[in-house]
């Protein structure tokens, strides 16, 4: 060390990250990590990232099909002060994900964006570039509880408006941004109409059922929807969420507990019904994706259902193999939020779900529990091929995407 001629340290341009910080500054270390690991040459598909569609709700309501509801919604946004987004249900004030301001990017992304390009395109591009992602599948956020709407027709109006708005403003601008289009699942005939209308639209690579709802996925009314998706080779995704109105979680007072259980419980219930009612037997080519419930629940449910099934096979007569076999062969899972506090448990989980072909990387950016591609890259117990599959190649196969990386890190 030469103490007589010190070099000058330079201040980082961002001293303290807040809600106005640019995504590229928040994720600067992620970008460095991706470069260091050589992810430029790896196909990275992020199967679950989000935007906050309610920021653009005034634009979105212009896409409502029903002229009377559209008119009402536009007036609502023009004239009402201090109102919630028109027609939207949900826990609007109970969204504590940012941990009391500790995680600013979860609270909001108020960074400057370029005029002339839609905010959501710019923010998504910045996230893709920072994380090293080639394709990003964008999901809405507050709309994920629309399945609990007291007016089933409102899910139809808003779901369709969202699909049309997203295609028009975001997907048609950048072919690297994709969607699993919103299915208004509470009205089966409208779900079928949605598939007819949107299956071939740019950027649509499948359909999504937000999981917080009280409709049984095995009801006969849904069989045509499943058949239509199977025929077209398009996956159906069940995207989890929490909600404080769930009576089974009524005693949970901390958001931590609500988030930990709510995001898993809804998909555990749907998966149980999906398997025990033999949906994979009836639609063997239909690919279901279970999104944002993490992974630790899957080995639990596999073991639980297998044990119970063997004692009561007469109650699930359509099954020709163990429930866990369907969960391993007919279902796909997104990684995030990947539980990593016990690596042995994670290794066993990945083995049990046959991660090499069934697991899809998801970041969930910009949410507080987002994951980075490097979490998969750094796992000590996976082969390079397994990592490549999970990070992008499984998704490319499932969604029929070109497996050549297109990003510039």
């Amino acid at each position: 060390m030469d103490a007589t001629t010190p070099q000058r340290a330079t201040d980082l341009p961002v001293q303290e990250i807040d809600v106005t910080t640019d995504t590229r500054d928040i994720l600067a270390h992620a970008n460095q990590g991706a470069k260091k690991r050589g992810l430029q040459d790896w196909l990275i598909c992020d199967v679950d990232a989000h935007h906050v569609e309610t920021v653009s709700w005034h634009e979105l309501v212009e896409y409502i099909e029903d002229p009377v509801i559209r008119h009402q919604a536009m007036l609502f946004h023009k004239e009402k002060l201090g109102g919630a987004p028109y027609g939207l249900n949900g826990d609007m004030g109970l969204k504590y994900q940012d941990v009391g301001g500790r995680i600013p990017h979860q609270a909001s992304l108020r960074e400057k964006t370029e005029p002339g390009t839609h905010r959501d395109v710019t923010l998504t591009r910045r996230a893709m570039q920072s994380l090293g992602v080639d394709y990003m599948v964008l999901f809405p956020t507050p709309m994920l509880t629309l399945g609990l709407h007291p007016q089933p027709e409102m899910e139809v109006y808003l779901g369709r408006a969202y699909n049309r708005w997203l295609i028009d403003k975001v997907l048609s601008v950048d072919s690297r941004i994709k969607t699993l289009a919103y299915l208004p699942f509470n009205v089966p005939a409208e779900a079928e109409r949605t598939i007819e209308e949107f299956a071939d639209k740019p950027g649509v690579i499948g359909f999504c059922v937000p999981s917080t709802r009280h409709k049984p996925v095995h009801h006969n009314d849904y069989m045509r929807t499943y058949a239509m998706l199977e025929e077209r080779g398009l996956p159906i995704a069940f995207h989890a969420a929490y909600h404080w109105q769930d009576a089974s979680l009524a005693t949970v007072n901390r958001f931590l507990g609500m988030h930990a259980l709510g995001f898993v419980w809804c998909n555990m219930v749907h998966m149980t019904n999906w398997i025990l009612n033999g949906i994979p037997e009836r639609f063997p080519k239909l690919k279901s994706i279970w999104v944002e419930s993490g992974l630790a629940w899957i080995p639990f449910l596999m073991q639980r259902l297998d044990d119970q099934y063997l004692m009561r096979p007469s109650e699930a007569p359509q099954l020709k193999k163990l429930p866990s076999a369907y969960m391993r062969e007919n279902c796909w899972y997104t990684t995030q939020p990947m539980e990593t506090s016990n690596m042995k448990a994670l290794e066993l989980t990945l083995e049990m779900i046959n991660a090499e072909s069934q697991l899809l990387f998801a970041s969930d950016w910009p949410h507080f529990d987002f994951d980075l591609p490097q979490e998969i890259y750094d796992l000590p117990f996976l082969s390079e091929q397994a990592k490549r599959n999970i990070l992008g190649l499984n998704a490319a196969k499932l969604f029929n995407l070109d497996p050549t990386p297109v990003k510039r890190l």
């Binding site: 990250i17 500790r102 507080f368």
Partner: protein
């Protein structure tokens, strides 16, 4: 090892910070209870920019003699920097992670010479 001149000692007020680039290294220097503490800007969780996070006092929940609780409180004597990526909290004096004693921030070496702060890294 290289010596980097950061700023005058008085430039970092109580509760303040300076996050600087020293060659390949990013270092955050904080003043807590009058003392300077320097940490590498690498969160032990997933390498997030820990030193660029907000500072919060640790939250406690006092339990009364009946075992009951009523209000949450801040323990102002226990200041944490919160990682802006996922919210892990670290004591700014010890570098210890709130909730996991085995996880710690990486301390950086500093020296004060002629009233100026230097990082040696």
């Amino acid at each position: 090892m290289t010596d980097y001149l950061v700023c005058d000692e008085s430039d970092i007020a109580e509760g303040g910070r300076r996050v600087v680039q020293c060659g390949q290294h990013e270092i955050g220097i904080f003043r807590i209870k009058g003392q300077l503490h320097a940490w590498h800007n690498i969160c032990p969780h997933r390498q997030g920019p820990i030193c660029q996070g907000h500072i919060y006092a640790r939250v406690i929940e006092p339990v009364d003699e009946r075992g009951q609780v009523r209000l949450l409180q801040y323990d102002e004597g226990d200041q944490h920097v919160v990682c802006p990526w996922h919210g892990y909290e670290f004591n700014l004096e010890t570098g210890r992670c709130n909730g996991n004693d085995r996880m710690k921030l990486f301390r950086a070496e500093i020296a004060i010479r002629d009233g100026a702060i230097h990082v040696i890294v």
